[in-house]
């Protein structure tokens, strides 16, 4: 540090002397950093909310029975000139030996929760009203580790035994059902039973709230004609964005059909990726404009300080020292601008929260504010400041002292 005292002193004094220029450039950087901080927190919060909503109501990975596929019959040596293969109608099928599969799945270290599920279509009736629903036969305790339904309860208790069911608020409204009311669930083929509503939930997705009916596995297996069966096994993994890789590994190792939330929601991921790309582009352009602003101010400074640089060189100041004087100036304005910008960005975020802009309406979300956001922006602005100072600093270092003093 002692060795660099000379350069630091020169750099800070030169910045202080050109006060107006310095303040202008620091303000410019601060505005850029504030935009980056605010935008990152806003988009981050929005994306987190989208992912949480998506994953709040579904498993990270779903293991299901393979689909029925139509295969053309062909005799040996006989050519098929033309064929049309119709898709087979998919019947409800149980995953083969799902209990043994559960044990195999538990050996994957990334898997944190496993819950079997038997689900299928049914018709819910109450009086004159009827609605098409999806039966979700679950082990209530295990299933909550996949989807925390109790967190979404608006009425009743999450205690589903025997012929108890939990229904969505929309379905309750459609059927005019309340806690303790009885509904008939009909799956066709003469299979129907009466159930008691013990809980009403609101997952936040209208379709799910109008169709999902949670019940214990056993009655669901009976209604769907799959005694002892499970149509799928839901999994939760440690790292949500590793779900696809884990699913592929499970499918490869166990030879079963495993689909991650990322495959099932590829449209959402594509939208998030596009959003991230546009956000990053904005950040890059803001960063570039900040860099050019720093470079132009320092380039002007080199011209203005030509005579001083010349005399410093004449007195024995090395090119490296002159280079560092200007690099330090770039880094310092970057750092100070980032500090001010972080404050401005933090203030904007606070104002956003205060005005409740993020909490009003159904699309409510909270901003994603982390210390790393400010730290990252500060490091970025400092590095950008130094890089932007590189060209003017090199120019200053290359100045011929004779020419520089004559120019002054």
């Amino acid at each position: 540090m002692r060795r660099r005292w000379f350069e630091w002193t020169l750099a800070t004094r030169l910045l202080r002397e050109g006060r107006t220029q310095t303040l202008l450039i620091i303000t410019g950087i601060a505005v850029g950093v504030a935009v980056i901080v605010f935008l990152t927190a806003l988009i981050g919060g929005l994306q987190r909310q989208i992912i949480e909503r998506t994953l709040g109501t579904q498993a990270h990975i779903r293991i299901s029975a393979p689909e029925d596929v139509a295969r053309p019959l062909r005799e040996e040596g006989e050519a098929v000139l033309l064929s049309r293969i119709d898709q087979r109608a998919q019947r409800l099928r149980s995953v083969d030996q799902w209990q043994r599969l559960e044990q195999a799945l538990a050996e994957f270290p990334e898997v944190t929760a496993i819950s079997p599920l038997v689900s299928g279509p049914a018709l819910a009736r109450r009086g004159e009203a009827s609605r098409a629903v999806v039966l979700m036969g679950i082990d209530p305790e295990r299933y909550t580790r996949i989807v925390p339904v109790p967190d979404f309860l608006v009425e009743g208790r999450w205690r589903i035994v025997g012929n108890d069911i939990a229904i969505g608020r929309q379905l309750a409204e459609d059927l005019g059902a309340r806690l303790g009311d009885r509904l008939r669930l009909d799956t066709g083929d003469g299979r129907s039973e009466v159930f008691t509503v013990v809980a009403v939930f609101e997952l936040g997705a209208r379709d799910l709230d109008a169709r999902f009916v949670y019940m214990a596995m056993k009655p669901a297996q009976g209604l769907l004609g799959l005694p002892g069966g499970a149509t799928s096994i839901d999994l939760r993994v440690r790292e949500i964005f590793a779900a696809e890789a884990v699913a592929q590994r499970i499918a490869g190792r166990l030879g079963i059909r495993a689909e991650s939330w990322m495959t099932l929601n590829s449209n959402i991921l594509d939208a998030l990726a596009a959003q991230s790309m546009s956000t990053n582009l904005i950040k890059v352009f803001v960063g570039l404009s900040v860099a050019f602003a720093i470079a132009s101010v320092l380039a002007v400074s080199v011209v203005q300080r030509g005579r001083e640089i010349g005399i410093l060189r004449a007195m024995g100041t090395g090119r490296g020292q002159v280079l560092r004087i200007f690099l330090i100036q770039g880094a310092l304005v970057g750092l100070l601008g980032a500090a001010l910008g972080s404050l401005m960005g933090g203030g904007l975020l606070g104002l956003w929260e205060l005005l409740g802009l993020a909490r009003s309406g159904r699309g409510a979300f909270s901003l994603l504010v982390t210390p790393s956001l400010f730290f990252g922006a500060t490091v970025l602005a400092t590095v950008v400041g130094m890089l932007a100072a590189m060209a003017p600093a090199r120019r200053a270092a290359r100045l011929d002292p004779v020419e520089a003093m004559r120019g002054g």
Binding site: R2, R3, R4, W5, F6, T9, R13, L14, R16, E17, R307, E308, G310, I311, L312, R313, A314, M315, G316, T317, G318, R319, G320, Q321, D400, P401, V402, M405, G408
Partner: protein, 241 residues
């Protein structure tokens, strides 16, 4: 016994625009020696090559041909880093315009050459700078910025700054050219006093015949050649425009 040569030039040529149709030779084989304790003036008309020669002597430029020995060391082949170091250690500059750094106090300006070398204002360095400022009557103004000083005071600070590096050679380019006659006399007297006290070699580049006549030796340059080199004459000389 003669003192050690601080500076020795052997057949120094300087050409500009090498290889171009406009190539021009400004200095034509300069031989010159300056010894420790000498106080010399370099005079000559405009365009005679004084500034070019000064830049070569000050290691701010290098000759096209010939050799310059500074403190016995040949300098023509030195790279920029070594040349800069040698310049900082061996040569002090005083210019017509003081070239003080406006963002720094007089004291800080004085310490600047040594801080560039040592990186840090040690207590010993601060004490030495204050002592030098006291010696030229500016001790009380050490904390002032250059713009708060008069022209004469600024030039005295510039002289002290040049001496802080304890140079063997002080190059002064029209050191009083920007001052009124009375102040110029004071500054020149100061230069002579410090020279007498410290014994470094001085080369003053000047247009001013009065000033040149107060130096011990006069070197006259005309069209890139030394046409006169000897002790001052009692009668005034006619100098170039």
């Amino acid at each position: 016994m003669a003192a050690d040569p601080v500076l020795r030039l052997e057949g120094v040529h300087k050409r500009y625009n090498l290889g171009l149709p406009s190539e021009v030779e400004v200095l034509h084989g300069i031989d010159l020696e300056l010894r420790r304790g000498e106080f010399a003036a370099l005079i000559g008309p405009s365009g005679s090559g004084k500034t070019t020669l000064l830049n070569l002597l000050g290691q701010l430029d290098s000759p096209t041909a010939g050799e310059i020995h500074l403190l016995g060391q040949p300098t023509r082949q030195l790279d920029d880093a070594r040349r800069t170091r040698l310049r900082g250690e061996a040569i002090g500059f005083v210019f017509q315009f003081h070239h003080l750094l406006p963002a720094f106090s007089a004291l800080e300006n004085v310490m600047m050459p040594r801080m560039a070398r040592e990186g840090w204002p040690t207590p010993a360095l601060v004490a030495e700078a204050k002592e030098l400022l006291d010696a030229v009557g500016l001790g009380a103004l050490a904390a002032r910025r250059p713009m708060e000083l008069s022209g004469g005071q600024q030039q005295r600070v510039a002289i002290v700054r040049a001496l802080m590096a304890r140079p063997a050679l002080l190059l002064a380019d029209e050191p009083t050219g920007n001052l009124d006659t009375r102040t110029a006399d004071e500054v020149f007297a100061l230069l002579r006093r410090l020279h007498a006290e410290r014994g470094f070699a001085v080369l003053v580049v000047t247009h001013d015949p009065r000033l040149a006549e107060r130096c011990d030796r006069i070197i006259e340059l005309v069209d890139g050649r030394i046409v006169r080199d000897g002790p001052r004459r009692p009668s005034p000389v006619v100098l170039g425009t």
